[in-house]
Amino acid sequence: MTGGGHRTMGRTFLADTWWVAWRELKHFLGQKVRIFMTLIQPFIWLALMGNMFEKMAQVPGFPAKSYLDYMAPGVVTMVTLFGGIFGGMSIVWDRRLGFLNKLLAAPIARSAVVSGKMLAIAVQTAVQAFIIFVIARLMGVHFATGFFGMVMVIVLAALLSLVFAGISLSFGAAIKTHETLMAVMNFFTMPLMFTSNAMMPLSFMPSWLQAIAKVNPLSFAINPMRSLFLTGWNAHELVSGVLVLSLVSLAAGWVATRLFRRATT
C-alpha cells in the first residue's frame, strides 16, 4: 500500500532542506510589496547615509575617497543583519498556524527544518546583496576587484545571514510569541550595528569600542568586503572571514536544531 515512490531515508537531508526552503522562497516571491521594499531600501540607505556623512570622508585618516564608497559594504551587511535576524519569525508563525506540526509529522529530520529556513534566508540575502551591489555601482561606488570580487561579496553576505538566521531560529525555537521574539531580536540589531565598523572606521572609535568591534561577527564580513570594494584582494581577511562565518553559522544552526528538538518533544 505505502510502497512506490519513497526514496531512501538518510540521503534525503539535502532534498528536505531544499523543500523547506522552497516554501519560504515562494512566500518571498508572493509578497510584491516586500520585494519592492527589498529593492528600494538599499537605495535609500546609500543615498541618505552617503549624503548625511559625506563630510566624514574629509577627516584626515579616513580610509576611502568618498563616504559612499566606504558605506556600500556597510549597507550590504546591515541589510544582511536585518534579513537574517528576523528569520526566526517564520518558525513562530509556523508554530502558531499549526504548520510546524505538519512539518514535524513528516518523515524529515528536525535539522532539515532549521537548515531549510536558513538556506531560504541565505538565498534571499544573496539576491539582496547583488541588488545592492548593482545599485551602488550605478551610484558610482568604486569597486576594486571585478566579477569574482562581487561573487565573494555575495558569498560573505550569505554566510553572515546564516549566522544571524541560526541565532534567530534558536530564539524562535525557545520563544513562542512574535512580540517577545521581536523585542529580543531588536535588542541585538542596533548594538551589533553600532559596535561594528559598518559605518565608521575602527580608528575613529574609542579603544573599548574597538575591542568589541574586533570580535563582532559583522566585522568578519565587513572587513573582507571593504577590501574588495576599496583596495583589492586580501587573502588573509577573506579566508579568515569565510572560515569564521562558516563555523559560527554551523554552530548557530546546531544550537537551533538542539533547542528546536527540545522545544518540540
Binding site: 505505502t2 510502497g3 515512490g5 519513497h6 499549526g98 506540526n101 505538519k102 512539518l103 513528516a106 518533544t265
Partner: protein, 372 residues
C-alpha cells in the same frame, strides 16, 4: 508490506498500552489509556475539550514523547521506530494547517516532497486526492482565496498524498458549517470503504461520533471511561431513560461535584441546598424499588432520570406509584439513550457541544500552551 510482523494481533493496526502524558508543569493530560484499533476501522475519541484527545493524537503521530506507556502502529514501535511510523500515517490537525501563500497544487507538491515521493508520483496522486475532495477546479488558485471548508478539504487531501495506512484526523469538522460537515463525513467514509484506510479521529460532537465511527472511546479527564460501538455504548446504560418531573420534589444534585464546576446547572446546585433533600433521598430509594427501574439519577436539567427496562411498560407503573404516594407528576418522558446520556452515565456530566464554561476554556488554553 515487509517488517509488519513485530506487532501482536495482526488485525490490530494500532495497539496502545497505558499511555501517559504529563506536561512540564505537572498537567496530567493523558492518564493511562489502553485501546486497540482494528485495520479498516473508523475509530473515534469522543470527549469534551481538554479531555486529552489531541494530546493522545500528538503522541501517536510521534510529535509528543509519552511520559510512559507504549504503542505500536502498523506493527512498528512508536518510540523506537518513529520514522517507520511516520511514513505510514497521515495527520490532519485541527488547525487547518495549509499554506495560504501557496496554491492547492503547490501545497500538495510540498507535502508530497516532504514524504519523499518523486515528482511523477506527486502529480498522479495530487490529481487523485484533489478529485476525491472535489477541489480539482480550484487547485491552481492561491489557498488564501479558499473558504474554510475548502481549506479543510485540501488539508485532508494533503494527509492522503502518501497513501497512509492510518489517517489521523483531529476534530475534522471543528468550526465548519452543517453542509461542509456532512461532506467531510462522506469523504471519511469513502476513505475507509474505497481505500481501506484506517481512520483515527477525535471529536467533541456526539452526532459525528455516532454517525461516523465504528467504535468510540469516550474520554474524560485524560482517561477512557467507556469503549465500544455506538450501540454497545448506548446499550451499556442498561435500558431506556425515563425523565420525571415531580411537583415540589426535584432530584438531588449530582455526584462528582468536584468535576462539575461550571458545568453544573445553576438550578440543580440551588436545589441541593433546599430542605427537600432528605425527602428526595427517601423518594429516590422508593423509585429504585419499583419494578423495572435499574438506576435512579439526576438529569442534566435537574429532572429525575431513571434507567428502566422496557420504557413503555415501566413508565405507567412509575406514574401510578408516584401518584399513589400523593405526589403530582408534572412531566414524564421516555427516551432512548444517546451518546450524550452515555457520557452523562459515565462521568456524571453532560457533554455540551458549546462549552462556554470558563474553566474548560482555561484548561484547554493551558494545554495548548503546554503543547506548543
Amino acid at each position: 508490506m515487509s517488517g509488519q510482523t513485530n506487532g501482536g494481533n495482526s488485525t490490530n493496526i494500532i495497539e496502545v498500552k497505558d499511555l501517559v502524558k504529563v506536561y512540564p508543569g505537572g498537567i496530567r493530560a493523558v492518564r493511562g489509556v489502553t485501546f486497540d484499533v482494528k485495520k479498516g476501522e473508523i475509530f473515534g475519541f469522543l470527549g469534551p475539550n481538554g479531555a486529552g484527545k489531541t494530546t493522545t493524537i500528538l503522541m501517536l503521530i510521534t510529535l509528543l514523547e509519552p511520559t510512559s506507556g507504549r504503542a505500536t502502529l502498523c506493527g512498528y514501535d512508536l518510540i523506537r521506530q518513529p520514522d517507520e511510523v511516520r511514513v505510514r500515517i497521515g495527520y490532519v490537525s485541527q488547525d487547518i494547517a495549509v499554506d495560504e501563500n501557496l496554491t492547492g497544487w503547490e501545497n500538495l507538491a510540498l507535502q508530497g516532497h516532504l514524504y519523499h515521493l518523486d515528482s511523477k508520483t506527486i502529480a498522479e496522486r495530487s490529481r487523485e486526492v484533489l478529485d476525491m475532495v472535489d477541489l480539482t477546479e480550484r487547485a491552481g488558485a492561491l489557498v488564501s482565496t479558499y473558504s474554510g471548508g475548502m481549506r479543510k478539504r485540501l488539508d485532508i487531501a494533503e494527509g492522503l498524498i502518501h497513501r497512509p495506512e492510518i489517517l489521523f484526523l483531529d476534530e475534522p469538522t471543528l468550526g465548519l458549517d452543517i453542509q461542509t460537515r456532512a461532506r467531510i463525513w462522506e469523504y471519511i467514509r469513502r476513505l475507509r470503504d474505497e481505500e481501506g484506510i484506517t481512520v483515527f479521529m477525535t471529536t467533541h460532537y456526539m452526532d459525528e461520533a455516532d454517525k461516523l465511527c465504528d467504535r468510540i472511546a469516550i474520554m474524560d479527564h485524560g482517561q477512557i471511561v467507556a469503549l465500544g460501538t455506538p450501540s454497545e455504548l448506548k446499550a451499556g446504560i442498561g435500558g431506556d431513560l425515563l425523565l420525571l418531573e415531580v411537583d415540589g420534589l426535584p432530584a438531588p444534585a449530582k455526584p462528582h461535584e468536584e468535576h462539575n464546576g461550571p458545568n453544573t446547572p445553576v438550578g440543580a446546585a440551588e436545589r441541593a441546598q433546599a430542605p427537600a433533600a432528605p425527602r428526595a433521598e427517601e423518594f429516590a430509594a422508593f423509585l429504585g424499588g419499583l419494578d423495572g427501574v435499574v438506576k435512579v439519577g439526576t438529569a442534566d436539567d435537574g429532572r429525575w432520570m431513571l434507567v428502566v427496562t422496557a420504557g413503555e411498560e415501566t413508565a405507567p407503573r412509575v406514574l401510578g406509584a408516584v401518584n399513589r404516594r400523593g405526589l403530582v407528576v408534572r412531566s414524564l418522558a421516555i427516551k432512548r439513550p444517546s451518546l450524550d446520556d452515555v457520557f452523562l452515565h459515565h462521568t456524571g456530566r453532560a457533554l455540551r457541544e458549546d462549552e462556554g464554561a470558563g474553566s474548560f476554556i482555561r484548561q484547554r488554553m493551558s494545554l495548548r500552551r503546554a503543547r506548543m
